[in-house]
């Protein structure tokens, strides 16, 4: 067991973990951060994407011990003061999710993409999300959502 201390969604946490424990397992099993999910074994699907010191990582591809001393943000910590992040809002507005299983990772990756490139072209969005799989939406509305978040506007519609 190894002692780790880190910040997750703004809270300081400290635990003894097995050296082999993945960050995603730590988040889900130790911290109950079940908003972050596991979709594959090979780091292809991106469902477990979180931010490590502000950059997106696939948390199935990071050991919990590697997060020691760092800051992790999950989908559960993205909204601030009860205000949804603009990417979360855009996903809702543009119907960019159906079953919602890929959504946490997709949103976290989209936030990272926009941090890097605030005004991406459609192609840049598609390439930027290539590491995240979605089986429901055909990506059409996910691309719209990222464009909408980039534009900072939402269009029409109730709720």
């Amino acid at each position: 067991m190894t002692r780790i201390e880190l910040t997750v969604d703004g809270a300081r946490v400290s635990d003894d973990v097995e050296p082999r424990m993945l960050l995603v397992q730590y988040l889900r099993e130790k911290l109950g951060k079940t908003g972050t999910v596991i979709g594959c074994d090979t780091s292809n699907c991106g469902a477990c994407t979180v931010h490590l010191d502000g950059r997106s990582v696939k948390s199935c591809n990071v050991l919990a011990v590697q997060a020691n001393g760092h800051e992790v943000t999950t989908i559960e910590g993205l909204a601030q003061d009860g205000q949804l992040h603009k990417v979360q809002e855009a996903f809702h507005e543009c119907h960019a999710l159906q079953c919602g299983f890929c959504t946490p990772g997709m949103i976290m990756q989209s936030v990272d993409l926009l941090n890097d490139n605030p005004n991406p072209s459609e192609e840049e969005i598609r390439l930027g999300l290539e590491g995240n799989l979605c089986r429901c939406t055909g990506y059409h509305n996910i691309v719209r959502a990222v464009q909408t978040a980039a534009g900072g506007t939402t269009t029409g519609g109730a709720q």
Binding site: P104, G138, A158
Partner: protein, 840 residues
């Protein structure tokens, strides 16, 4: 309670692009996936799976595993008793169907690579997996039935004790059924004075690949045993548990919490569920099992996997005279829940939107030593649409006309509805001409054809192809009597209830069970309109058999067209039950009460009362008419009288790099008729996702096995679920004609995109390279296959007169003309000398 204000103009909810109620929890991570559930004292399961496609299990040594840290129990197939039950097949398609017994865990013999042979129960999932590595299973490998065609010849038996791999032969013949003419006569006539096109197509094996791996939690504590499962079918699951494990149905509660996609892949009763159920009952402790992605791809059921032998006859002008369909369908090693019924769902659809006068359809279902197959988005109907739409393109080429022209010559005209097809179905509505016209316009069909011509003339290394698919499907499963006539083990009705709560809120319970479809949003819209209550005040409950006590779950594009209609009827009953209350409260005659925009009023007066006020009054029941039962809650069960038949015209343009074989999507336009649209946002989303799954079959996805029967595409590294970078934005529109088989006029939309898009893409790819003499490329159309097709007649290429050269099903010519199009076969793809060099 007298209405002093005029009823405000109520905005109609139906047709409005409401943002989804479901989203809030999903975009913030406040989700309840099955794998998120943790119960006190919960134990974890790990499975040991056969690495061999077919092997005798000679011994299972669990001693070391039992000593591993925090291991509670280890079981092998030999430990299971009768209470473990077995996995059922609910649709024996013929009375003499050969159906192997399917135990939850193999005891003596493993029948596919991935079958469970032992399991470990431990205090953590990691410890269970560690210990599973310590189980020593001795196998004696047996010859495996792997190739579908060879299996159909019983060369190697998947189950030696059964004596055959042939499970069932199911036949429909229009002459015998009295729905059309004799196929053989028509074909014989066409051989002398018409056109006969014979082709053989492969529907490769696919994997549903829902994003949430399957997971199950069983809690045996308490009076009712509870199972949470990532399933599409909580009600059917409960029935099957009761039917096979000896636990009374009334003691079983099944909950489908948030479910992360299904696409038919979670329309199953699974060995994993049965093992977890049995283990929890042995240990009297909650148990969880969550599969890894590799396990999911290996052992969750697969879809498609057919060989299609097709014969189309026509007059010289392209008027089709007969269509004969002969299928081999791979069941895998067990007949799954719906199993052999999946190809049969296509039996009535190969004639599609066309007025074929004669039709013969048959399927031989075949057992092999591969993963079992069952429903995958479209289930039988994509296979049908692919076959007929590819054949119509071949016919167009033969006749020398545009593929849309040959379709129009043969399709049902809009004034001919309702139309009884040669397969015996009555299509209620549709307008193929209008959808096609609209699609052509959006697509810029003529301009793209002109560009194609320019590229051909200039021998551009990048050729443009245009593919057409004018599809229809039957959905809204299903009229119970029809299912009965097909020997299906259940009905096709659906149930809903509406509870009018004292506080004015409306609680709706539905028997359908969503996993991404947006039922909570769309059903709220229906109820809001029907009862005149705010959309926000409607709550939709589902997926828990203790709350939703009656239902048949979600598959086959049925939730809206069957479940939605049950909902409409339940809501209408609420209004009827409210009328005597209103009459009593307003001191009027019940016959004079009319309902409008959420209020019940006395005709010709301004006296009215809101239905929510009546709900409050009914809750108190201090004062109500003497001759009625208190309360206005209502429920309804709806059994459809017919399927419904969405249709659409899909047009796809691809660019094919003839030097590399790479296919690039250029444009995709579809105009679908899904009847009345409840929520356009949700409908478009369903179409987008459906399109990509169908396109993925055309271009990328295939479950590939090696020579020993191991699935080599058992991770997302090798099973190519498309990414955002592989796909394009779509041009989606509608041309609605109302269905006449339900009150709302809706038609199913869940499967439409997938059913339609596959042939549109392959037709486009073939169209791009037809000038090279290519008439078929096996799916998925990988760069390698496309390149080989283009170069099939180069030095060293295949002889263009063999392969798909017609006719090759004729007894006299034997089968030597067949091209082996299985993956890895050395031969090139089929070419058709009849259309050699024929550009359009």
């Amino acid at each position: 309670m007298t209405a002093t204000q005029d009823a405000a103009t109520v905005d109609k909810e139906i047709g409005r692009d409401r943002r989804r109620k479901e989203d809030q929890r999903l975009i913030t991570g406040r989700t309840r996936w099955t794998d998120n559930i943790t119960l006190p004292g919960m134990l974890h399961l790990a499975m040991v799976r056969s690495p061999f496609a077919h092997a005798r299990i000679t011994s299972v040594d669990t001693s070391e595993a039992k000593q591993a840290p925090n291991v509670v129990a280890v079981y092998s197939g030999a430990d299971l008793d009768e209470s473990a039950g077995s996995l059922i097949n609910a649709w024996p398609i013929t009375p003499d169907q050969v159906t192997p017994v399917h135990p939850p865990m193999a005891k003596d013999r493993a029948t596919f690579a991935g079958e469970i042979v032992a399991c470990v129960v431990a205090r953590s999932a990691a410890e269970a997996r560690d210990a599973a590595e310590l189980i020593d299973v001795d196998y004696e490998e047996l010859p495996a039935a792997l190739d579908l065609k060879e299996a159909a010849e019983d060369k190697v038996l998947a189950h030696p004790d059964l004596g055959t791999n042939k499970s069932a032969l199911w036949v429909f013949d229009s002459a015998e059924a009295g729905t059309g003419g004799d196929v053989e006569e028509a074909i014989a006539k066409a051989r002398t004075d018409g056109i006969v096109i014979e082709r053989e197509y492969r529907q490769q094996r696919l994997i549903p690949a829902f994003m949430e791996p399957r997971s199950v939690v069983v809690d045996p504590t308490g009076e009712q045993l509870t199972m949470w499962s990532a399933t599409q079918i909580p009600h059917i699951l409960r029935f099957a548990l009761a039917a096979t494990t000896g636990v009374p149905e009334s003691k079983i509660r099944v909950i489908a919490p948030d479910v992360g996609g299904g696409f038919g892949g979670k329309l199953q009763v699974t060995p994993e569920e049965w093992v977890a159920w049995w283990v929890a009952r042995q240990l009297h402790k909650p148990v969880k099992y969550t599969e890894t992605r590799s396990e999911s791809l290996m052992a969750g059921h697969h879809g498609r996997d057919q060989w299609q032998r097709l014969t189309l006859s026509a007059e010289k002008d392209g008027t089709v005279t007969a269509f004969k369909v002969d299928l081999l369908a791979d069941l895998g090693s067990y007949v799954s829940l719906v199993g052999g019924g999946i190809p049969v769902l296509g039996a009535f659809m190969f004639n599609s939107i066309y007025k074929f006068p004669a039709y013969h359809w048959q399927v031989q279902t075949v057992l092999t030593n591969k993963t079992w197959t069952d429903a995958y988005r479209g289930a039988g109907r994509p296979e049908a649409t692919y076959a007929v739409e590819r054949m119509m393109d071949e016919l167009a080429t033969e006749v020398g006309v545009d593929p849309l022209e040959i379709r129009e010559k043969n399709w049902i005209k809009h004034e001919e509805f309702p139309f009884t097809t040669v397969a015996g179905l009555e299509y209620d509505s549709g307008h193929y001409e209008a959808a096609t016209e609209k699609a052509k316009e959006h697509f810029g069909y003529d301009e793209l054809r002109a560009e194609q011509e320019r590229r051909r003339e200039s021998n551009d290394s990048v050729q443009l192809g245009i593919g057409v698919s004018t599809f229809t499907e039957m959905c809204g499963l299903a009229p119970s009597r029809v299912l009965g006539s097909l020997d299906y083990g259940a009905g096709g009705w659906e149930h809903a209830s509406v509870r009018m709560l004292a506080t004015g809120k409306v609680e709706v319970v539905v028997g359908v069970s969503p996993h991404g479809q947006g039922h909570e949003t769309a059903f709220s819209q229906i109820v809001a309109d029907r009862l005149g209550v705010p959309w926000e005040d409607v709550e939709i409950l589902h997926g828990d058999t203790q709350i939703s006590h009656k239902g048949l779950d979600t598959y086959g594009s049925r939730s809206l067209v069957v479940g939605g209609e049950a909902l409409v009827r339940a809501a209408d009953k609420v209004v009827e039950k409210a009328k005597p209350y209103a009459a009593h409260m307003l001191e009027a005659n019940p016959d004079d009460i009319e309902f409008k925009d959420g209020r019940l009023g006395v005709k010709g007066t301004d006296q009215s009362v809101a239905i929510t006020e009546i709900a409050t009054a009914a809750f108190a029941s201090h004062d109500y008419p003497e001759d009625i039962e208190p309360g206005i809650d209502a429920e309804a069960t709806f059994d459809p009288v017919n399927f419904n038949y969405p249709h659409g015209t899909h047009l796809c343009a691809v660019e094919v790099d003839t030097e590399t074989g790479r296919v690039k999507l250029r444009k995709y336009t579809c105009v679908d008729d899904v009847g009345t649209v409840i929520n356009p946002l949700i409908v478009e989303g369903q179409v987008h996702g459906g399109l990509v799954q169908g396109i993925a079959q055309a271009l990328w996805e295939e479950a590939v096995h090696d020579d020993s029967g191991t699935l080599v595409s058992a991770s997302f590294v090798d099973y190519l679920v498309p990414t955002a970078a592989d796909t394009i934005s779509f041009d989606v529109d509608h041309n609605s004609t109302a269905s006449t088989t339900n009150t709302l006029g809706t038609k199913g939309v869940g499967e439409a995109g997938t059913i339609a898009s596959t042939p549109a893409v392959v037709n486009a790819v073939v169209d791009a390279v037809r000038s090279f003499g290519v008439s078929d490329i096996q799916m998925p159309c990988t760069p390698e296959r496309v390149w080989k097709a283009i170069h099939a007649r180069d030095a060293g290429g295949a002889d263009p007169t063999t392969g798909g050269a017609a006719p090759h099903f004729d007894e006299s010519t034997g089968q030597e003309g067949q091209t082996d199009r299985t993956a890895g076969a050395a031969d090139g793809p089929a070419t058709n000398p009849g259309t050699e060099g024929a550009g359009q």
